[in-house]
Point group: D2
């Protein structure tokens, strides 16, 4: 990730602001506010605004439950209770805004989370930067053999070189042809003074899906956790997980009590179906039960055994 | 529930329709289409339109996963897979519309499910019916002693009579005064020809919260299941659960495969936190663990033991 | 509106906070932050948190349009442009949170704006305050004769007294019977030590719709303007307009440039249909046109003439 | 657009269905149900399901307004009234589902309409078709000189050929390298038996933005009209307008009365700001007013003059 001098100065200037407010603040989050935290080869993520903290959740819950909340003595106890019982509305009372630079194919995954506000850089108005994502060696993986949407072993040696060369040369050539069609270089300079350029809204179609775009993305705490729950999971594509991991750190800085409850009940937790509950009950009581007797499919059986750390019972 | 002759005729006429369509139909749901199914003392619920069936979910999933779904051989297997892994979008491809008559205090709970479309009877435009909810004897319960939002023992005898008398006489008197202020009877007849009536939008404020209202309520299958999951739960207030139970039956008629998966993975399932998983693992392996060692609160411990049917471990 | 001593102290304490932040602040809004601004007889509205200001809208728009926005020289010009062309997403980048005390029948209107986050005081958990809305003399209006959802002349003299007496005595009696059923006074004291009280979730149904409730209500700037556009309109019910008027002032303090554009293009603007455009074109060109020739209904014709201040052309 | 024999047979089979339902049907829409209507060079749009018709809107409105709607005598009058006064909820009672094949850069515009349900073909699971959008000659336009997001003159002759060659060769080469990296041809056949292929979720990043994708897209009538209002406008990019035009025809077949009101009040209508109203009033009254006196910017002035067909007053 390279920031221009202009961008660096703007960030420094924003970080230097000292405004006095009556609103609550999140001190650990203030420390990294506006910082461009690198993600992937040219991407970044920046927290650029937020509203509320852990106490805002508690405050909202106490409005709802009125005098009824007096018996839950601590903020932490109340937040854990809300998380455990899927009380969603108090978590909607906090809001956060990110500035994200990311490859287009990842932006397409990300945007499927609809409950958020987005302003994306428009290639109808402006020329996109000449930056494209190329996986690092350790992330260049073969197609998984048993999971249709997963990755298998890392590709290495000549094979890796060949793949990276293809990705690089195709991205560069399509970008150069994008400039040629626009009759304009990335820096704005005209190529041929006597020629008109193709409309930007058309020329952009020549770019590859690893070209970087950027957007402002704003959501509430509940929907941020819904996003993170799916995207820090090991089933998520590595490239979006890389962003989610950085956002998870911002969650911890912003609302540390909620973060702990989130890790315990959501990220680290599991769900057990009605049939699965029967299996677990029997196992605890020392009874024997086979996959066939359980009514579970092989896949369900293995997921259950894996969740409760009974690797010896997993069936291949 | 009393329907006017006019309403009964309209329902009969709607039920008599035989339109030919190329769309998929849900035969079991067609059987009860337009029927006014009684709920509580004066309420009802009617399915009045729907779109899609189980195959619509499968069809949408197969568009998403393309050739990748070929390996899941059956519709039922695919729907179970989608439900288990919280794939939400295929379930959004089906839509259902209800006509509901319900007490205002229940309407206020219901409306908090925001992802739905609603057209409610407006008391700014028209006069509300003279109908209010009075609990039946078995539903007249005392405040729970250990659950701030729950019910305890049933109230009976003179105490019950007293409560019902208060509810009935207050509802009747406030309704009569509503008519008096409007200078108009429920049937539209004027009371005093020489007098103007108070604006309807003001007069309505005199009614009690057990007055019945009605609305059209439309939602997609995913959000219907979110609603039902919360509202068929035994923690839900009885009066809304009564509606949810009828809707659960319509779910079964509409999308029977999805219904089975929903009952197994959502209604009958449970969630286990990260700490809870550790406890279960130890118990399965025959190790001993106390609540104190578990890191769980008493409440969490009991919820966990209850979920896996270990009543003897519940701590009072 | 009466605040308890405890509430007044809490507000004073919140207003005394001086936190240092790197975020943008809205100085005029900070001045009234946490203040309980009285609305109706017992209601209030408080701004309790916010995120962003006018520059946040500009910043988001400039991300979208990239280098393309350089030609719009001023923030004010850009915001006006966005408002005029219904560019919605930049306005979603700001967020505000209110604490509102309001009568239940108004809360039921308000909640129909779905794109907002809400935490309402729950009468399942806690006892509602003994406060109900009674219209002041100048707001006690008769039903309009030509508008089914409007108000006509003010009711006065003995008629007014009678109406207010009915509203007051019904609200008081139903509240007293609510306490009786709960076997508990508003202040928490038990009435009869030997008796159990009815469940709160049931007893509440005896209250009238003018009883006050309260909630936290959070929305983004775009949806706030959608709300205000409808609710400051003279067709809105007076009681909700009273809240909207106070919120309109908070909008002005928060985002003054956006406020100006909103008043010009939304609140003060009008829409003209395709047929209406034809009528206006002819009138400008000095041609004659009658309602019959225009293709407009009488109602449409009058709305058009009224919008462009041609009262002499209005048809009775 | 080329459909496989398999796809054609499936469509024929779906079109042959004759199911009997009690639900309302839209006869004109049934006629084109499941048809793949060609859009652009390889795209299509198909209506694949719907719920409700014009009478569903009327029915919902009559529930809301109760006895109050009796005075609006006709369905058409009521629908026009609802449209004119922006009553939104009755239009949400109808639902429609499309199957769309479209270039990725258009899909990225389309998806910004959040209030819809989407299932898109996933290139993590499956290989994308070898089809990319190439503009036809009359749509190959230069960048507009005075509108940053618009098109100017058509490009022709050698210049056009050069552009089309670049687009075509880049799309073909990147697709071939996509196959090479996957070690798999579009038809599923392996290229080199001894080699592993790159993970599909990575290889897809090499494709250009004019590659076709497909999805199921479902929305309600209100949000469909919001989409169409923006996308049939001449400011919309031609490529998305091509889809919107076909959808506009489906709107007409589905809800003909609503379609008429939509064309009159939305598509053909205009908005006038508070200042604009003052200008129009003066012009009607034969008074003179210049742009300077009006308080409008040059752009606003011209938009106003253009809306009311006063071309002679437009300022260059």
């Amino acid at each position: 990730m390279k920031l221009t001098k202009e961008q660096q100065q703007e960030i420094e200037s924003l970080k230097g602001q000292k405004n006095v407010t009556k609103r609550v603040i999140a001190p650990e989050l203030e420390k990294i506010l506006f910082d461009a935290i690198p993600v992937l080869d040219h991407g970044f993520i920046r927290v650029i605004d937020y509203m509320g903290d852990d106490t805002s959740i508690v405050q909202a819950a106490r409005v709802s439950y009125g005098k009824g909340t007096k018996q839950v003595s601590t903020d932490s106890g109340l937040i854990k209770y809300l998380m455990r019982h899927w009380h969603s509305t108090p978590f909607e009372m906090c809001e956060i805004k990110y500035h994200v630079k990311l490859p287009i194919f990842i932006a397409r995954q990300w945007i499927r989370h609809r409950t958020a506000n987005v302003n994306e850089y428009s290639a109808r108005y402006s020329i996109l930067d000449k930056e494209f994502y190329l996986p690092s060696n350790e992330n260049l993986a073969a197609q998984s053999k048993n999971n249709r949407q997963g990755r298998g072993d890392v590709i290495s040696g000549d094979h890796a070189k060949e793949v990276l060369n293809l990705l690089k040369s195709d991205a560069e050539r399509t970008y150069e042809n994008y400039e040629k069609m626009l009759n304009q270089k990335y820096d704005g300079s005209k190529i041929d003074e006597n020629k008109t350029g193709l409309a930007r809204e058309l020329a952009r179609m020549n770019l590859t899906l690893n070209t970087y775009t950027q957007w402002y993305w704003k959501t509430d705490l509940l929907n941020l956790m819904n996003f993170l729950r799916l995207r820090v999971d090991h089933h998520a594509q590595y490239e979006i997980r890389a962003y989610a991991d950085v956002m998870l750190d911002s969650l911890k800085r912003w609302v540390p009590i909620t973060f702990d409850a989130f890790m315990d009940y959501r990220v680290g937790g599991t769900e057990v179906s009605s049939k699965g509950k029967g299996v677990i009950s029997k196992l605890i009581n020392g009874q024997k039960i086979t996959m066939e007797e359980s009514g579970l499919s092989k896949r369900e059986w293995n997921e259950l055994m894996s969740a409760f750390d009974m690797r010896e019972k997993i069936i291949n």
